[in-house]
C-alpha cells in the first residue's frame, strides 16, 4: 500500500513538532527514518497510524485519508506496551479475537517463532527482559499481517546478535507478505541494511532533511563496500541535520 504524507504539520503543547513534512512510501517498500532524539519520529509514526491527527496536511493510504486507526496499519510503539494481565501468548493473540481457536493458536505460534520467543509463550510480561518484551510487541503486530507496518525503534533494547537475527526475521516476513514498512531507528547500519530508502530528519521543527536511496540488490550481505558507502552518506547527512540546529538557534 502506498503511504503518503503531504505537508503535514503537528503542534503539540504549543510547540511546532513537525512542519510541512512530506514523504511517500511505495507499496511493499521499506523506509527507514533516522534523526536525533526528540526530532519528532514517534510523533510522525503516530500520525501515520491514525492515532493522532495532523494539525495541517494530509496522510493517506492508497489515496484514502487516514483519519483513525485502521486494520491495514500495524504500529509497534517505542515501548512494548504489553498488557500485564495477559500472558505473552494472549498478548500476541490480542488482535485475533474473532478467529477460531485453532487458527489463532497456529498464527500466534508462528509469530512467536519468528521473533524467537516460542519458549516464553506462557510467561507474564513482568517476567520478560526488555528485549523479550519488545519482541513480544513486534509479534503482536505482525500476527495480523498488516499491509503497512510502522515500527518505532523495535530493536533498540536488543544485543547485537539477537538484533541481527530479528532484522533477518523481519526481512523474511517482508519477503513473505510484502508489507509497506516504515522503520524508525537510531542505528544507521540497521537502516541501510534493511531499507530501500533512508529519510534523515532534522529537528525543531521536525522535517525531512534528506532522503537517501539504498541502491543495493536483495538479499543483501551486511557491511559490504556498497552498504558501507551508503551508511557513511547517511551518517554525514544525520550529522549535518543535528548540527544545523545550534547553528540556526545562534542566529
Amino acid at each position: 500500500m502506498t503511504l503518503s504524507v503531504r505537508n503535514v504539520s503537528k503542534v503539540l503543547g504549543g510547540a511546532s513538532v513537525l512542519s510541512r513534512l512530506s514523504l511517500d512510501v511505495e507499496p511493499g517498500r521499506i523506509l527507514a527514518i533516522v534523526g536525533g532524539s526528540g526530532c519528532g519520529k514517534s510523533t510522525l509514526l503516530r500520525l501515520m497510524s491514525g492515532l493522532d491527527l495532523p494539525s495541517a496536511g494530509d496522510i493517506a493510504l492508497d489515496g484514502s485519508a487516514v483519519v483513525g486507526p485502521r486494520a491495514e496499519i500495524g504500529l509497534v510503539f517505542q515501548e512494548p506496551r504489553l498488557f500485564p494481565w495477559l500472558t505473552v501468548r494472549q498478548n500476541v493473540g490480542f488482535g485475533l479475537d474473532g478467529r477460531d481457536a485453532r487458527e489463532r493458536g497456529a498464527l500466534v505460534d508462528q509469530a512467536l517463532e519468528r521473533v524467537g520467543l516460542g519458549e516464553r509463550a506462557e510467561a507474564w510480561p513482568r517476567q520478560l527482559s526488555g528485549g523479550q518484551a519488545q519482541r513480544a510487541a513486534l509479534a503482536r503486530a505482525i500476527v495480523l499481517r498488516p499491509k503497512a507496518l510502522l515500527l518505532d525503534e523495535p530493536f533498540s533494547a536488543l544485543d547485537a546478535i539477537t538484533r541481527a537475527d530479528l532484522q533477518d526475521h523481519l526481512l523474511e516476513l517482508w519477503q513473505a507478505f510484502r508489507p509497506t514498512i516504515v522503520l524508525v531507528t537510531h542505528d544507521v547500519e540497521e537502516a541501510v541494511y534493511l531499507a530501500d530508502e533512508v529519510a534523515v530528519m532534522a529537528a525543531r521543527p521536525g522535517r525531512i532533511a534528506e532522503t537517501i536511496e539504498v541502491d543495493a540488490p536483495r538479499p543483501r550481505e551486511r557491511r559490504t563496500e556498497r552498504l558501507d558507502a551508503v551508511s557513511r552518506r547517511v551518517a554525514r547527512a544525520l550529522d549535518a541535520a543535528i548540527q544545523k540546529r545550534p547553528a540556526r538557534e545562534a542566529v
Binding site: S49, L51, G68, P69, R70, A71, G74, L75, F77, E79, R81, F83, P84, W85, L86, T87, F94, G95, G116, E119, R120, A123, W124, P125, R126, Q127, L128, S129, G131, Q132, D159, A160, I161, T162, D165
Partner: protein, 280 residues
C-alpha cells in the same frame, strides 16, 4: 553464542527462586505470626493458674474457650453470628453496588465527576457514626437503619477506589486498544476492567473491613441480637470472658471473609504476583 543463550537462562531464574521460597515460606511465615499471640495466651494462662492474678477482668484462655463452647452449644452463637453476618452482607452488598456505580460514572465522565465528587468528598468528612441518629429517625430502629450505616461505611472506600483506579489507568495501554480498533465496550471489557481490578480488590477489602467495624457500631445502638449485642450484654452483666470471646469471633470473621475475598480474586490477579510475591 553466549548472547543467544542468555534469554532462556535468564528466563528460568525467577521460577526457580519462587519455588524455593514458597516451600520454606508457606509454613514458616504463618507460624512466626502465630508465635506472639499464642505465646502471650499461654503466659497469661500460666499466670492465672499460678495464682499471680485472679483473671477476673481478663479471663484466661481456658475460661474464654469454655465460654465459647457454651455459647456454641446453646445455639446462641450461631443465631447471633447469623444476624450479624446477614447485616454485614447486606450493607456490604449495597455499599459495593452504589460505590462501584458512582465511582465508575464519575471516573468515566468528567461532568459527572465535577458535579458529584465535591459533594461526596464533603460527606466523607462526616464521621459515619454521626449519621446514626438521622438514620434511626428516617429508617427506624430496626434492620434498615443498621444496614444503611454499614453501607455508608463500605461506600466510601469503594467509590474512592474505583474513581482512583480509573484515573490511573495507563493511557499508553489504552492507546494500544485504539490501535486494535476496539469498540468502547470492548475497550472497557478487555482493557479498563483488567487494569482496574487490582485496585478494586484493595478497595473491596478496605470496604469489607469497614463493614465489620460498622456492624458493631450499629448493633451497639439497640439491637436485640447480633455479636454486637453480645458485647453490650457482656458489659452490662459483667462477663469479660464473653466480651473477649466475641472479640475473637469478630477477628476470625474479619480474617475469614477477607481471605475468601482474596482467594476468589487471586486467579484473576495471578499476573501481579509473578515478582515480589515473597514480600507480602
Amino acid at each position: 553464542m553466549t548472547a543467544l543463550e542468555l534469554p532462556s537462562a535468564h528466563a528460568a531464574e525467577p521460577d526457580v527462586r519462587r519455588r524455593g521460597s514458597t516451600v520454606a515460606g508457606r509454613w514458616a511465615r504463618p507460624l512466626l505470626g502465630l508465635a506472639l499471640p499464642v505465646g502471650l495466651a499461654l503466659l497469661w494462662e500460666a499466670a492465672v493458674r499460678a495464682g499471680l492474678s485472679d483473671g477476673r477482668l481478663v479471663a484466661p484462655p481456658s475460661r474464654i474457650a469454655a465460654t465459647l463452647v457454651e455459647l456454641a452449644r446453646s445455639g446462641d452463637l450461631a443465631s447471633h453470628l447469623a444476624a450479624t453476618a446477614w447485616r454485614v452482607a447486606a450493607g456490604f452488598g449495597l455499599g459495593v453496588l452504589s460505590g462501584t456505580a458512582l465511582g465508575a460514572l464519575a471516573g468515566a465522565s468528567t461532568v459527572v465527576r465535577r458535579v458529584v465528587d465535591p459533594t461526596l468528598q464533603g460527606l466523607r468528612a462526616v464521621p459515619s457514626i454521626a449519621w446514626v441518629p438521622l438514620f434511626i429517625l428516617w429508617l427506624g430502629i430496626f434492620e434498615p437503619s443498621k444496614i444503611a450505616l454499614i453501607a455508608v461505611g463500605v461506600f466510601f472506600p469503594v467509590y474512592l477506589g474505583v474513581l482512583g483506579a480509573i484515573a490511573s489507568v495507563d493511557r499508553k495501554i489504552v492507546e494500544v486498544g485504539r490501535i486494535f480498533r476496539l469498540s468502547r465496550l470492548a475497550l472497557v471489557r478487555r482493557i479498563l476492567l483488567p487494569a482496574i481490578l487490582p485496585s478494586y480488590v484493595v478497595a473491596l477489602r478496605a470496604g469489607l473491613g469497614l463493614g465489620w467495624m460498622f456492624v458493631v457500631a450499629a448493633e451497639f445502638m439497640g439491637a436485640s441480637e447480633g455479636l454486637g449485642y453480645l458485647l453490650v450484654d457482656g458489659q452490662q452483666l459483667g462477663k469479660p470472658d464473653q466480651i473477649v470471646a466475641i472479640i475473637l469471633i469478630f477477628a476470625l470473621c474479619g480474617k475469614l471473609t477477607d481471605t475468601v475475598l482474596v482467594a476468589a480474586t487471586t486467579p484473576a490477579l495471578r499476573w501481579q504476583d509473578v515478582t515480589g510475591a515473597e514480600d507480602r
